[in-house]
Subunit: 301 residues, 2 copies
């Protein structure tokens, strides 16, 4: 049987790092990205073009981008852009793929990017118009529920995606922003999305807030998704709530998929060592598990 | 549609507590068990009748047992017994259900209980003979792989279970002792076991070592298991490898199943509060996630 290919998209250098309170020196960031590449990851969200006052951790977005574009010509590199200003900067510095973000929940969207839905969709439209050759992904934040508005109907999600589709988006990243999904909800949403938007690229991005990062990401794969975003170390979330809000851990997820017989292209040992290197160098909130395993200690019970 | 019932069997007071290095005062243990009962758990492994030199944490096994038997006449209470001596003590103090343990891997069995397979099966046989009215479960340690012997064939597992069946066991608990299972392996093993041992009770007990506690426990349910062991807080594993080797977390697993529409009888809010009470009182290695959520902090990205 031919192995099913799953592409793991690494978002640690953006979603992981942005949750680290202390500035990570640029050379450390680059050393981590280098190990990610060497572990077999071919698609990496390397930074965010956001105002340094909003997220000081991303103040070296330009240096990181320039260095990586030159060093890794064969790796797919992209960045998050919260607004038109960020989009312009990202493209100016050479990126040909960017991710814009709008939340299904308008309340969350106002808190996250200080925009109404109308304002966000207008800006998205402008970005698509200005950069017709750039691949623009849409992070569909709070796809599976919102901390402010609660859970919503599939209809609400589908109408939101329909609007984005009409604006011109053909690459959607369904985000479980605060970890409110469960495997049944994931499958329900994704089946609808894959049926309606069969001409689009669909990814998922699951947070591990309620310990369902692995199970929900696998549920997505089981109903046909073959691109999953994860973060090295499961880094992410609020530094004041350890263990709470990280992303699905790249090394644990890759290990599981490899063991199950999927083809990820990621080397299980190298990616675990990369996660350990990260943890040795960056003080953060890690929700990955294998990062903590000490091979010299073996439990017997 | 009628809800599918899943029984969550709480093993925290044994498998969780035994991994806590500092002695937990008996009144704290009892306060935690009381909260577990009030959260809706009806089946609890309350202690282990093991020599106090081997596991000092369990030196109050008798007090815990006597107190619980008197206070919770309608709750199913049971204990682990590593040997005949422990079995005799457990029965003497009134328990009508005990769990004996043998590893599929003989190497692991020698390290864990200092016995060959022959010696363990002989002792098991003696326990079954001595206590014909006591329910004797068998913890099938290292069902899904061994840290010393590696992975083995389904045939090896089935032959082991066959031997235990012939000895008289009718209740098996398939344990992923060091977290080596993956969802495909879980389903493969369980399908074989349910087909061959259709007259037996089959439970699973999954460790979260490699972040697959939730996904493997759910995989077991998806192929027909309706009794799953978990530990409050995901407590467990080696205290020198934080986050590494806990059990599947009761509160996270119950929350997921409740959200998916299964009927667990466990109240999601009460069980999370019980986990938080545990963490406030016991310094240990918690692999649960919701235990760390601070409701006043809401991530927006």
């Amino acid at each position: 049987m031919e192995q099913e290919k799953i592409e793991i998209i690494e978002v640690g250098p953006r979603d992981g790092f942005q949750n680290v309170s202390q500035f990570i020196p640029t050379n450390i960031k680059l050393a981590i990205i280098d190990r990610l590449v060497k572990s077999g990851l071919n698609n990496i969200q390397i930074t965010s073009f956001v105002h340094p006052k909003a997220i000081p951790q991303m103040k070296d977005a330009k240096e990181v981008t320039q260095f990586c574009l030159e060093k890794y010509p064969n790796i797919n590199l992209f960045a998050l852009v919260p607004n038109l200003f960020g989009a312009k900067a990202a493209v100016e510095y050479g990126l040909t793929e960017i991710t814009y973000v709008i939340s299904v929940s308008e309340t969350h969207n106002r808190k996250n990017v200080k925009r109404t839905h109308d304002e966000s969709f207008e800006e998205l439209s402008e970005i698509l118009r200005l950069f017709p050759t750039v691949k623009v992904n849409l992070d569909v934040a709070t796809t599976f529920g919102c901390p402010y508005e609660g859970m919503y109907s599939i209809k609400t999600v589908m109408e939101f995606l329909e609007r984005a589709y009409k604006t011109g988006v053909r690459s959607f990243n369904l985000c479980d922003t605060v970890g409110l999904a469960d495997p049944i909800l994931v499958k329900k949403v994704i089946k609808n999305v894959l049926t309606r938007f069969s001409d689009c690229e669909i990814q998922v991005h699951i947070h591990d807030t309620r310990n369902m990062g692995m199970v929900n990401s696998l549920a997505a794969i089981e109903c046909g998704i073959n691109k999953v975003q994860t973060a090295i170390g499961g880094l992410g979330g609020c530094p004041f709530a350890p263990g709470a809000s990280g992303n699905t851990s790249t090394e644990d997820f890759a290990y599981m998929l490899n063991k199950m017989g999927y083809e990820t292209g990621v080397d299980s040992d190298l990616i675990i060592n990369t996660a350990k290197f990260l943890r040795e160098n960056v003080d953060g909130n890690y929700s990955g598990h294998q990062i903590f395993i000490n091979k010299n200690k073996v439990s017997t019970q």
